[in-house]
């Protein structure tokens, strides 16, 4: 495989084949908790993407200076720096969104996707490759949040990005279950089953 081809793979792997949420089953908490509406889901995805890409790039830049034996604490410091930046930025510029996402913004620091990518990929690859890998994983995460947010908002509230897309009678009595936790669990169960069925890959 030539170099350009493999670079392209770093980017695309994370979107479908190694999708962090639906294939690798990591980073579940924010996926379920913040996908109540498309807007909240995309807000969470933006915050997480900033942290994933940022810490991948910085960890990759510093990979020659980080001793192997203390790499995990150093990675955690790098990640928590980016989390603190996005935490305070959202608090200042998007207070309404921040109130909805709440504790899930600081909790990005223990999101397995971030530490997993830094440890498994960025520590061993160049800055550009790590950037592409982070971007790919972020896109995969964003895709799942977008799909879940769309389904839950349309069924649970009858709206899409806050605009009415269903008849008035449906909006009066929507499937409230989809907004509540059971709806999130059942929806991701169905999505995972569809992935198992159509991707023909054992990923149990």
């Amino acid at each position: 495989m030539n170099e350009r081809h493999s670079r392209w793979r770093y980017l695309t792997n994370g979107i479908i084949l190694e999708n962090p949420t639906l294939i690798l089953m990591i980073g579940l908490c924010p996926t379920l908790a913040t996908s109540i509406t498309v807007r909240d889901g995309l807000g969470m995805a933006a915050a997480a993407s900033f942290v994933i890409i940022g810490s991948n790039v910085v960890a990759s830049m510093l990979r020659r200076f980080i001793p192997n034996s203390v790499r995990i604490p150093i990675f955690i410091i790098i990640i928590s720096t980016f989390v603190t930046i996005i935490d305070y930025t959202m608090q200042a510029y998007q207070p309404a969104l921040y109130r909805v996402l709440g504790v899930f913004v600081p909790l990005i620091v223990v999101n397995c996707i971030v530490l997993g990518r830094v440890e498994a990929f960025a520590y061993k690859h160049s800055v550009l490759d790590s950037f592409l890998d982070g971007l790919g994983k972020s896109l995969g995460f964003t895709l799942v949040l977008f799909v879940m947010g769309t389904i839950r908002e349309i069924f649970g509230a009858g709206t899409f990005f806050g605009k009415a897309v269903t008849p008035a009678w449906f909006r009066q009595y929507p499937m409230l279950l989809m907004i509540f936790p059971p709806g999130a669990f059942i929806l991701i169960g169905i999505l995972k089953a569809l992935v198992n069925k159509f991707m023909k890959k054992e990923s149990l």
Partner: protein, 196 residues
């Protein structure tokens, strides 16, 4: 948020259950709930570390970060404190309490990245709890985690023997079962006037 200790406990234990209603700590929930033994070990470790972490981070926040005006370092400080604490507990148990160590030792390193622990320490600060309230909140949350993970592992042991369509086996059916258990927990909403 309730201020009465009994209500704080009940809210953390049932009404706002950390796994099924707040969706925090799901990775260990689906990861280790495959058998009763691992579920017991994991929940004992989580309960123990959660209480310790709640105390330590409460003191770190109120005696170090607040007086020095370093509140913005909360995220970094808490996770490093918890990681160190877990390492320390692991070494201490290994040396002094072998039986306890063999029961929950292998789960301790996993706990550093358990979002349930970190979430409790953040929420203690966000809700402005005092030390007693923080302890009760951590206790309720830890017991709620244990209750759900143990109940659910019993359920999953049965699911292993059930005839299930191929594509639903494993994670998907676990999610759907979790959805039903979560639906049952939604029934606690309104208990003593506690809301979501």
């Amino acid at each position: 948020m309730p201020k009465n200790p009994a209500l704080i406990f009940l809210a953390a234990f049932l009404v706002n259950n950390i796994l099924l209603i707040r969706y925090i700590g799901l990775c260990p929930f689906f990861g280790v709930s495959t058998s009763l033994n691992t579920a017991f070990g994991m929940s004992a470790a989580v309960l123990f570390v959660m209480l310790l972490a709640a105390w330590v981070t409460w003191f770190v926040f109120h005696l170090v970060l607040l007086p020095l005006n370093l509140v913005f370092l909360r995220t970094a400080a808490f996770i490093l404190v918890i990681a160190t604490l877990v390492q320390f507990v692991e070494m201490f148990l290994k040396k002094s309490y072998r039986a306890l160590y063999s029961a929950m030792g292998i789960y301790l390193p996993l706990i550093t990245t358990n979002c349930a622990i970190l979430a409790v320490t953040f929420l203690n600060i966000d809700y402005r709890y005092n030390l007693l309230q923080a302890t009760i909140f951590a206790l309720g949350t830890g017991l709620g985690f244990a209750l759900v993970i143990i109940l659910f592992s019993a359920l999953r042991e049965r699911l292993d023997y059930a005839p299930i369509t191929r594509s639903l086996r494993g994670y998907p059916i676990a999610f759907i079962a979790a959805s039903l258990v979560s639906l049952a927990f939604l029934g606690f909403v309104g208990l003593f006037g506690l809301s979501l």
